[in-house]
């Protein structure tokens, strides 16, 4: 049985100019342990879709089922990871990790032990009693992930979770998060605007069209690797062809061409040798 099934989701907003359709008939499903990436042109409603899945936004039509139950209202089976780590500075790392459990009133010796195990497995136990300001950006993001995993969600939603980090930290954190998610066998759906990231992390890339958004393609990603990690994927020969395929699907070729020709023009006077 599918852990997540999204059936015919439609979302429309009423505006003074009439109805704006953000999402038009979105359907897909995920099995336990799947990792899907979701890409689409900016403003196409990727985050809206995540909010609907998380139950914080009601769709105009269609339904979302998590583990066989229809989602209505904030769903306890879902963990949500945002762009910022949003760690609370007045809490220690451990208290931050327990935040979600406190909110959901599920703080028991078992859940505490589970959180401590996660901290230990992912190299944070020596920092458990420190405050977040003493951690690096990458470690903070790891704490945020563990805070989300501590509530033992069936599905993890990542909303541009790494875009606030600088490039190098981002590569390292992606590596980290990928390993943790795989090891904990969490089903994950990640929204990103970064095409390479979508390829190197996802088993499948869902490509959305512009507004009103539909799924243009579900692209399975396969690499010929014994042990897959995001960094190794980036070095594979298949990587480039996946990239080009998604790029084309997103309809960014035209934008790219005009951008490069503009660049060429502006670069001309500087590069032209003076006679």
């Amino acid at each position: 049985m599918a852990v997540l099934s999204v059936e015919g989701i439609r979302k429309a907003y009423q505006t003074p100019q009439g109805e704006t359709v953000a999402l038009q008939d979105i359907s897909f499903s995920m099995e336990k342990g799947d990792f899907y990436s979701l890409v689409g042109p900016s403003g196409c409603g990727k985050s809206t879709l995540l909010s609907i899945i998380a139950g914080t936004l009601t769709p105009t039509a269609g339904r979302v089922q998590v583990a066989g139950q229809t989602v209505s209202g904030p769903c306890p089976h879902i963990g949500y990871m945002l762009q910022q780590d949003n760690l609370l500075e007045w809490r220690t790392v451990r208290q931050n990790v327990l935040f979600g459990l406190e909110i959901r009133r599920r703080l028991t010796p078992e859940t505490r032990a589970h959180a401590d195990r996660l901290l230990e497995t992912y190299g944070l136990s020596e920092f458990a009693d420190r405050h977040p300001s003493q951690l690096s950006g990458g470690m903070r993001q790891r704490v945020a992930l563990i805070r989300t995993l501590a509530v033992e969600p069936d599905i993890l939603l990542l909303d541009e979770a790494f875009s606030a980090l600088d490039y190098q930290t981002r590569l390292a954190v992606t590596e980290d998060v990928y390993r943790i998610i795989r090891q904990e066998q969490v089903t994950a759906l990640m929204v990103t605007h970064d095409i390479p990231e979508s390829i190197c992390m996802g088993d499948k890339v869902l490509i959305l069209s512009g507004r009103p958004a539909v799924i243009r393609e579900e692209l399975p990603i396969r690499f010929d690797l014994a042990e897959r990690t995001p960094l190794r994927c980036r070095a594979c020969p298949e990587f480039g062809s996946y990239f080009n395929h998604i790029w084309k699907e997103l309809g960014m070729y035209e934008a790219h061409d005009s951008a490069s020709s503009l660049q060429g023009e502006s670069a001309l006077p500087a590069t032209e040798p003076t006679p």
Binding site: P74, P76, L82, Q84, W90, R91, G100, I103, H131, S133
Partner: protein, 239 residues
């Protein structure tokens, strides 16, 4: 400091300045001694007691009102214009009204201290509550936090620094309120001593009281600052 006191003493002794108006360090010291330990302590205790009562009531009521306004945007919208006007109104002008309402006594004085610090606290805490980090609020929402949980676990702890900033201002304001109240109605306290000394032209008494008042003000402020430091260490703010 020592040089200033010496210059003051010498100037008064040589009658360069009128020691009747400006008093004289040795006479102020003499006043302290002649007032006797008990009498002086009594007046200090009265003033400090009234200040603390007004300060604590003002802080508690101010924070509670701010919570109410944060909780209900409707109440906030209705009451905000009044708060802004009340805030710029000099509360001392309410003195006679307060005396009639609360009676000429300690209650009126405490009420004065409360009135002077209340509105500032409400406005400051409310703006602090509203400036709570949007990301932290969103994060709490993703776990399905209720409004009460968000307040207790995010908004309130986030605003502990705001609270202490406003307490630091309030302790001074409460003292202003108490002294103003004691000027108007009282039979005890440092404000009473100052008014009494002024009326009977005993400037050494006035000066002695003002100096004690300065020391009291500094000590009150420092104790708030110290509490802040302890609380900060406990919660790891700015660690």
């Amino acid at each position: 400091m020592a040089a200033f006191l010496l210059a003051w003493e010498v100037a008064a002794e040589r009658e360069w300045i009128d020691s009747f108006i400006f008093s004289q360090p040795s006479r102020i010291l003499h006043t302290y001694l002649s007032m006797g330990q008990n009498d002086l302590w009594y007046h200090i205790r009265v003033t400090v007691g009234e200040t603390l009562a007004g300060f604590l009531l003002g802080a508690a009521a101010g924070v509670l009102l701010a919570i109410l306004l944060w909780w209900s945007p409707f109440v906030a919208k209705v009451s905000e214009p009044y708060l802004v006007v009340l805030n710029s109104l000099p509360k001392i002008a309410l003195g006679p009204v307060i005396i009639i309402l609360a009676g000429a006594g300690t209650r009126a004085i405490v009420f004065m201290a409360l009135a002077i610090s209340l509105v500032v606290t409400v406005l400051e805490m409310l703006s602090g509550f509203r400036d709570t980090d949007a990301g932290a609020l969103r994060m709490a929402h993703t776990f399905g936090a209720t409004k009460g949980q968000i307040f207790r676990k995010v908004v309130l702890p986030y605003n502990i620094p705001t609270l202490f900033d406003s307490l630091k201002v309030n302790i001074g304001l409460s003292l202003v309120g108490v002294i103003a109240g004691e000027f108007l109605v009282s039979r005890a306290g440092l404000g009473y001593l100052i008014v009494y000394g002024g009326q009977v032209f005993r400037m050494d008494l006035v000066m002695a009281s003002v100096i004690i008042l300065a020391v009291v003000a500094a000590l009150l402020y420092e104790s708030v600052a110290l509490t802040q430091k302890l609380v900060n260490r406990r919660f790891g703010h700015g660690a």
